[in-house]
């Protein structure tokens, strides 16, 4: 890391207000609710197989090695996105970027807490609402609780995580959040019918 210069010129440091995209938005329909989740800490973690154990230890969650799966512990979830790629989400207020900083094993850890926003889709019709634009088979056999995958919703890329039989977490990039939220809302309206 580039070291910050020793000399500082700042006298005051007002704290900037955080304004997450779509904060607090939610839509409810019969049997399904679409709700923007609060901010979370996130990293995009890339590493070869040999580093997985060390990183798992540092993060306190075992990085999954099986495609389309995730692991979760103490408010921290690791989603398998590719053979050397994980999305680590921390909802407990701890910083996974800092946890990886001390790991000497080969890896790349990049903070993306602000890049993504998360939308919860919950209720008996959640699966149908997401299937309004997602072409994957989301039945419990094909996409069980804990399943995670990058995929498509309409014309946007999303990361999908099944958190319960009738609950999903949809992650998308910040500027796509309006599109994704609106799409899911329409999907929810139709799934309810």
């Amino acid at each position: 890391m580039a070291k910050a210069a020793a000399k500082t010129t700042a006298t005051a440091s007002p704290s900037a207000e955080r304004r997450p995209a779509l904060a607090g938005r939610s839509v409810s329909a019969t049997d399904v609710k679409v709700e923007v989740l609060p901010p979370a800490e996130r990293i995009s973690l890339r590493a070869p197989e040999a580093s997985v154990a060390a990183l798992s230890k540092a993060l306190g969650v075992t990085l999954p090695k099986k495609p389309k799966t995730s692991t979760s512990k103490a408010g921290r979830t690791a989603l398998w996105l590719g053979p050397d790629e994980w999305l680590v989400i921390d909802e407990a207020g701890n910083d996974p970027l800092a946890d990886c900083a001390g790991v000497s094993a080969l890896h790349s850890s990049v903070g993306i807490s602000h890049r993504n926003i998360a939308i919860a889709v919950t209720g008996p019709a959640a699966e149908a609402a997401i299937n309004s634009g997602c072409p994957q088979d989301l039945s419990l056999e094909a996409f069980p609780v804990g399943a995670a995958s990058r995929t498509i919703l309409g014309k946007a890329e999303i990361v999908l995580l099944r958190t319960a039989e009738d609950a999903f977490r949809v992650e998308c990039w910040r500027s796509f959040s309006d599109y994704v939220f609106t799409f899911l809302s329409e999907g929810a309206r139709d799934a309810a019918g």
Partner: protein
Amino acid sequence: MSGAFRIPSAGRLSQAKTARFSFDGQSYSGIEGDTLASALLANGVHLVGRSFKYHRPRGVLSAGAEEPNALVQIVRDDARKTPNVRATVQELYDGLAANSQNRWPSLSFDVGAVNDIASPMFSAGFYYKTFMWPKAAWKSLYEPKIREAAGLGVSPDRPDPDHYSSRYAHCDVLVLGGGAAGIAAALAAAGTGVRVILADEQAEFGGSLRFESGAKIDGQDGFAWAQAAIARLSAMDNVRVLPRTTAFGYYAQNFVALVERVSDHLKAPGHDLPRERLWQVRAKRVVLASGAIERHMVFANNDRPGIMLAGAARTFLNHYGVAVGRNVGVYTANDSAYAAAIDLKKAGVNVAAIVDLRDNPTGPVIDEARALGIEINFGRAVIRAGGKLRVSSMTVQPKNGGGERTIPVDAILMSAGWTPSVHLFSQSRGKVAFNHETQRFVPGTYAQDCVSVGACNGTDGLSATVDEAYAAGAKAAKDAGAKTAKGTKPKVDASENWSRGMLGAAPGAGPDTTVKAFVDFQNDVTAKDIRQAVHEGMRSIEHVKRFTTNGMATDQGKTSNMHGLAIAAETLGKPIPEVGLTTFRAPYTPVTFGAIVSHARGPLFDPTRKTAIHPWAEAHGAVFEDVGQWKRAWYFPKAGEDMHAAVDRECVAVRNQAGLFDASTLGKIEVVGPDAAKFMELLYTNPWEKLEPGRCRYGIMLREDGFIYDDGVVGRLAPDRFHVTTTTGGAPRVMNHMEDYLQTEFPHLNVWLTSITEQWAVIAVQGPSARKIIEPLVEGIDMSDEALPHMSVREGKICGVPTRLFRMSFTGERGFEVNVPADYGQAVWEALWAEGQKHGAAAYGTEAMHVLRAEKGYIIVGQDTDGTVTPNDAGLDWAVGKKKTDFVGIRGMMRPDLVAKGRKQLVGLKTKDPKVVLEEGAQIVEDPKQAIPMKMIGHVTSSYWSQNCGRSIALALVTGGRDRMGDTLYVPMPNGVIEVEVTGMVFFDETGGRLNG
């Protein structure tokens, strides 16, 4: 009373539930559960439309989706006027309003019917032959006139106010068709517990059980059994039952598109319901149970209203309780029409006579008809129908000639036999096979994991159909992974059986005749037209089809294809399979654009991407422009300012004080790993190994062909970490390009790429006061020129939040780009704005950004380059590492044409008249007096009014441009020739002193 032709004792509709409706302004009464067709027939209305070409009066032919004639316009309100709705499919609701189509001034008196009298003019190929000359008249005269005169309904002229939805679904067994076969297959598959979807185009399941009064299954009437079975299936968790749902397209790997009509049958659908829902289903196995379609008899005037398919007349009676006439004739070539005659006779309708082409058929239905006292004529043909707006008689003759006899009738029920519906099978790329014995095409070779059962497979008889379908359903489930089977096969107690029939023209409409015996009702194609096509040289059925338009109407020839083929084969003197069957294509029935577009309209047409700072820009009056999917602030007009004034003010402010610019949309990629510099060396022309952490460099990316692909400033944050920026529009493809090389060409490198475009909001602060604006808000970064020189980067904090602070400039002024986590973007912008106000800073948009960079001769990839520009062409040779042995594009750059003399090079242009602003894209010539076409030696790539320079400025790609410095060139424009001088690309602060100013 719901119509004079309603028979209260017949049908399944509840007489109590009446529904009012109107047709051509006339009010009628029907019953809930009616289709528009059955309701009209109940009121004795047979005349429902005019034909496409001859404007002949037409009535209802069928009782289902195959209907070619009864097309109407359904009018819900000003915006909802759906044309070409089949009256046989449209369910009645209270208040339904329908109009007939293709007639003027009225349905019973239609001026266009003159075409019928003049019909010798309009035979097959008429349009092709007549409107050939002069060529130009086709577009201006013939086509519009023909379209006006012909055509079917009228398109609605307002935006569609309904909404449409879509759903992806997966199942183990998809059953298409909900007659006895489909239901039996679904029961068998569902019993195993696998996921089953059962779809049928009708509102109610049952298929031909709707009219087969002789069917008994599991001790129940066939239709009642079907309803009970559907109720059982609907109650199962593993089964989805979709009524009113047509499978219209069968694509690769058992991907089937279906459209569900959700609310067209409702009086007041409400806002939450979509009009239609598109289902895109992926099935492990598909069971096709699409049934068979009855064919009409091809004889003179067989299109008169009141003449219809026997099975349809039977459906109207047995399901809807409607008698299609009071004195009906029957014309048939197979047994099935007898059943219709028997049912009607039993319901009290007089059956004037049955005319049967066959010589001496025997069987129970014939015996029964005879026992009921119905007159039966074997070996005879109906050679013509009488009447015009309604059939009034049928003229009968022995089929080999002889005395004619005319029998008065008010309806004729006809049946030439049944055609298996192999449409979906054919769409699945399966090959049909012709069965010579039964004279029909049936599924032959399968291309996908599907199976046909029942009538669409050429299986005759209810018992055989149910056996076959149940077994197929069970097997499909097993093949899809079912472990256990549960349930019992339905037992067929009684059924009707028929098969065979005839193909082609009936006697009296043979080769020696010129009568109008229709093969294709919707496109007005007669038997004679088909023969004429063959006589004029068409040999392949595909040519006959296109020449005559047989089967090319919206009904896709569901009733006509086999007749047309048989007539063509007969005329050619070839067996049917040698002439071949035309290909069936999606959609099976017409599909609305709404269903296809589904959610992708309005805000969901395409994602609209907005930056974290967008709300501020919006609140401060920004005008936005689209850059790819992004909305970017274009300029910030103050009260009374036009774009020109706003941009001038913004440009001047940046050079004199400072400006704030939202650069968040720039692509950003974090390149991390011990081999990061090595990777950068390979992907960019520049050298990177020696770039010190904390410093930045302008990088150029080429494609392997040696042309510029992208550019951007790259900061090295640490030995193993680069912060790469790309153009706004280039971000996704640059990422893909880098990943491609990393994964497939340089997989040995230990480096990873992460898109951080949206992690960081970027605020450019540019201008002489830039440092003064930022400094008070920054912690942990020494902002002196010594500590933070031009082209350097530091990490620290601003407004208490983390920042990657770049000292860089795309304006030529002292400049910074403040990266902060996106959610803080607006707050930090507001803080910088507040500081900026103390120093006279302005917010500037993309237009001012463009002008400012052009004043400095900084290129924009994709504007000043077009995919054929090398670094040398762009004057960027200095950015190519001379000592490098490899990078993407190194070899492409050496290609003979890329190093040849006389390439187009990027230069500056100054108009001789400083007030004239060139047009971007304008062509440049050496000699304006040369003859047209002139030799063009280049074009203008960027051109602006520069308030800072007090004149217009432009960049251009000009052949051998750098050797032309000071030359005068010319830009010919419609209003005269503009003189320009070739200059260097830097128009402002040529020494670059202001970067530290």
